[in-house]
Amino acid sequence: MSTFAFIFLLFSVTILIIAAFFAAFKKDLLQAVIATSIISLSLAVIFYILQAPDVALTEAAIGVALSTIVFVLTIRNTKRMEE
């Protein structure tokens, strides 16, 4: 692995940690779902840099499309704000 790939890996891990804190501590659940989508995005980038493109492809398909739809439907049927 070259040096620049390592720096890029470090950058995307930083983005992942920021988004994870955001998803854990936000009261508005819709914004937490958006942060979950960011987590899945940067996780796919990490798999990609570590040379596993098939895992990254599956993570992209499930994390971006399917889990967002399921979470938004759940929020629609319950409440948006957390007490």
Binding site: I18, S37, I38, Y48, I49, P53, L57, A61, A65, V72
Partner: protein
């Protein structure tokens, strides 16, 4: 030529990603954060294609293709939820 070009373009893309991530942290409403997420995903599609060119792996482009096809479905769902007609 090729290495210098790669480093300059990659640092520009990382700069764009950092700026969009600042808007994602700052943005007051949910819609602002969705716009920031959309922009970050477009930047990541471009970055993955460029890294595939640098590593010379043809198979790596498929990840970017899946993002370009499926990336807008989640945003469309959130927009329908904000509109109130899902």
């Amino acid at each position: 030529m090729n290495d210098v070009f790669f480093i300059v373009i990659m640092s520009m893309l990382v700069l764009a990603g950092v700026i969009a991530a600042i808007r994602f942290v700052k943005g007051p409403t949910a819609a602002d954060r969705v716009v920031a997420m959309d922009n970050i995903s477009v930047i990541i599609i471009a970055t993955l294609v460029f890294v595939a060119y640098f590593f010379q792996r043809y198979i790596y482009i498929d990840v970017s293709l899946v993002y370009a096809v499926l990336g807008f479905i989640g945003i469309l769902t959130i927009a329908r939820y904000l509109e109130g007609g899902i």
